[in-house]
Symmetry: C2
Subunit: 342 residues, 2 copies
């Protein structure tokens, strides 16, 4: 069945945003005034406030060839929630601004907002504002997330101390292998339009890439156990980059053990199938949205006992550098990979 | 003298943002942790918090042919401050995310950040975070502004009541005529590259377009006089659009008198020179960043006595519609002009 296509011009700017947001409700006490004014009004009398913003650009951060709008909306929200959890906070509000060209129709945006709202409901976040704009070149998304944290309890990147344990939640590299898989199928698809790709047995990789979750559960688990990390960051650019951010901000070095890095079976199998280096996927792949954090050495037994958390190394003095110890005992400097201008 | 050009690749992503932000200081008590973590940490124990976000896209919102980066930075910040003032608040923090292609060099971004910082210093705002990203297509800017307002004192769009006076600060249409002037000179320039345009006597129009100010002074003046508007909005899209926003949110209509709309001499002269309708510039031009607000009729004498504020009409019941009364006594419906998808 052909998908219905309603042109954005049928609504106009103001009609469009009203249409997309008319069913949005406010659930948090801190959300006083939501969508529809010059600014959202929030109230945080007894907490510290966290604010973060991310840009997501078509062709750089997402590819609409294989990303459904619903998933894009969900992921756009979740990656911002992840930044708030990485501060030991809880996300409460988001403001979503989008730029769109004529290529997109109202139904595309309904799906995108549907994904946003699903994420907001799941994580208890209110959508309180935003802006829409014409764009000359595809879709772009800017999400601002506001969250709260107990006064003075924000966990920064700068608190890691010598001998602290380096811990990571979940597993790494799966989102990157999911991306490789989608990119490969896209190339195949370009040459044979009637072949439907078979992703059986690779669902986990696709889900990690297309519909990641933020580690709300880990932040809540640590809080229940009264464990306050000395430093924390979420893994959006890859373990190496994030570890180096912590080391730089905390003025220290680290040792990470390759054989301790948690990797799922599907990730390893896909790397082998594609003849790719598995550790590269885990170290530099990015988009895992797992939490990377440090705790004092004295917490070793306590933290090791927690499900879903792995100790992967330790903090050392700055002069010893930030290094990976491989399975065969070699040492390599961790290397950060930022974006390059295109 | 040739401008120096340092490629962004010389710094890389993380070096670039550090280079651009290394001299940034925090001045507001509410700014606890600024640039360099997953989120900014803010503290607002006794105020309501205002949050707004704007997208500015090259080719849609700005043209780098005639917009210096310094001015672009300044304007990007100020238009966000304006949204906070329009809530009867004071801007305190901004978070700036930018997308850039290889076309841009480090010096361009230094100038842009220079403009941001000049605006921040002038308005007492801290730059507390942001993100940089590669872009396939020119420059894009996302600014989130956080501000404060006394508890319960935010002025919304929805509070206008029948018989309230409609007031506007400053004058209207100048930014739009400045844009027309720049666009005309750009066309001339395209055909004769060695002619330097002569803008003598038109400085006000250019300044209003390229380097607008937010009406901090008007919000402070109203506070000193103990005048709390019943509704308020800033004029970014033109008087008609903004007036219709107030009417819709407040469930009312209005009468605006064409001959009361404040217009500067340069604006009128330029409209005549270009054979354009002056009222169209004032009603639909936009980018004036003046404040449009309503006060109870009983404040007529008090508000009329204030310098820089003009009463231009009144609120009526919804069934009477939202109309402009022209100089010759005709009535026309106000018409909103949003963006169209391109």
């Amino acid at each position: 069945m052909e998908k219905k296509r309603t042109e954005i011009s049928e609504y106009g700017e103001f009609g469009l945003i009203q249409h997309l947001t008319e069913n949005i409700k406010l659930n948090n006490n801190s959300s006083r005034v939501g969508i529809g004014d010059d600014a959202a009004v929030l109230e945080y009398p007894e907490k510290d406030i966290l604010v973060t913003n991310d840009l997501l650009l078509e062709g750089i951060h997402f590819d609409l060839t294989y990303t459904p709008f619903m998933h894009l909306g969900y992921k756009s929200a979740v990656v911002n929630f992840s930044d708030i959890y990485a501060m030991n906070g809880r996300p409460k509000q988001i403001i979503v601004s989008i730029g769109i060209s004529k290529r997109f129709c109202v139904e595309d945006l309904e799906e995108f907002y549907g994904g946003l709202q699903t994420a907001c409901e799941k994580y208890g976040v209110d959508l309180v504002g935003g802006d829409t704009s014409a764009s000359l070149t595809g879709m772009l998304i800017s999400i601002t997330c506001v969250g709260e944290v107990e006064k003075g309890k924000a966990v920064l990147r700068s608190g890691a101390k010598e001998n602290d344990l380096v811990c990571v939640s979940g597993d790494l590299g799966a989102a990157y292998m999911g991306l490789q898989l989608l990119e490969r199928e896209k190339r195949v698809f370009d040459h044979a339009a009637d072949i439907d790709p078979d992703f059986t047995g690779k669902e986990y990789l696709l889900e990690r890439q297309l519909r990641p979750e933020a580690r709300k559960d880990i932040v809540e688990l640590l809080a229940r156990k009264n464990i306050v990390p000395t430093s924390m960051i979420d893994i959006s650019d890859g373990l190496s980059s994030e570890m180096l951010h912590i080391c730089k901000k905390s003025n220290c070095g680290c040792r990470i053990y390759e054989d301790k890095i948690p990797i799922e079976y599907q990730t390893a199998a896909q790397a082998e199938e594609m003849n790719m280096n598995l550790s590269t996927a885990a170290l530099n792949g990015g988009e895992d949205y797992e939490l990377l954090f440090t705790v004092p050495l004295s917490m070793h037994d306590e933290i090791s006992a927690l499900e879903g958390i792995r100790v992967i190394g330790h903090i050392c003095s700055k002069d010893k550098g930030s290094r990976l110890i491989t399975r065969d005992g070699n040492e390599f400097d961790l290397i950060a990979q930022g974006w390059k201008a295109v």
